[in-house]
Symmetry: C2
């Protein structure tokens, strides 16, 4: 019979697989693609350092927990690069099934608690979730600016496409961060032409 | 002139280098060595999932922040595997210099805030820091049990050595986790002989 602690450890061992999910963005030095576990860590640091960009109703401790959990479903559903083509409805179904399986490894109380945090992030309706989502969209362009274009080059995207797919989301939870990114993205595109 | 936000982003870009600091422990599937950024993420998840193992004076939100920051100094000072040989006093000097440089990239208020969290972790005197330290010692044996021995094989260590170097530290902040690990470590060693 498995104990409570056995179930907690089984979940933590399963979570280790997030270190093998590869994203569309590289490290700043372009040496390799980033994985979703280290990306999640980096975002928690973004939340700590950029907390002054959050609106008054954002709970940073809750944001950090969302960012720790936000990509776990990719263990089953994979990463869907922002500029890649995928069917959002199909992804949603895959991610819900992944959440059932992965959070379901936990004892019931923890399953409920962690699932609720992840669902809040996914729904993107609370100020904390909107700020977390904005950071998740803000980090990749910061990496691309360092690495020489990264996923903008891979997916051959335009400035307008970035504004549509990335800027629109950053603006919701962290408008000043989009101002900051937009200016630098424009300069990067100018330098290419 | 660099703005506040420029300094925040410069720090976050510098932190990206933690993804390239390689540890002595592998992933659970033994496919490669773990890096310190994804390790830090994994530990924040340990804190969320194993919060019921913390004593009453532990603040889990503070523990999570400590774990996000705890290895950043390795960008300059490198990782020192627990079973490797190194001079603790020399490491301490290197890590303090690394903290000066890396946290010093931030605006002063954030430098002070984040440095204080890291210093609290390093000092290992508060209940929150002791619990964070215990998780940092507890995760590697959990990985080794999955990967076929990992750093125990690399460094050819004995059960007694693990109890001395790892168990003694886990016991301070999370005694039941050491009970859990000890039993399984003993079974693993028995199976090798």
């Amino acid at each position: 019979m498995s104990t409570r602690l056995d179930r907690q450890i089984a979940f933590l061992n399963e979570a280790d697989k997030l270190k093998s999910v590869v994203r569309g963005t590289t490290l700043c030095d372009a040496s390799r693609y980033e994985n979703s576990a280290e990306h999640s860590w980096h975002l928690t640091l973004y939340a700590m350092v950029l907390a002054d960009q959050a609106g008054p109703d954002v709970q940073i401790d809750r944001v950090i927990k969302m960012l720790i959990l936000h990509d776990l479903v990719e263990i089953d559903a994979g990463d869907n690069p922002i500029f890649g083509s995928h069917d959002p409805a199909a992804v949603e179904v895959q991610e819900q099934a992944a959440a059932d399986r992965i959070f379901g490894l936990l004892p019931n109380d923890l399953d409920n608690d962690l699932r609720a945090i992840w669902e809040e992030f996914e729904a993107a309706k609370t100020p904390s979730a909107q700020f977390a989502k904005s950071l998740d969209r803000f980090q990749p362009p910061m990496q691309n600016l360092q690495s020489g274009g990264g996923s903008w080059v891979t997916y051959d995207v335009t400035e307008d496409k970035i504004a549509e797919k990335v800027g629109a989301k950053i603006k919701i939870g962290a408008p000043r961060l989009w101002d900051y990114a937009r200016t630098r993205i424009a300069a990067w595109f100018s330098a290419q032409s």
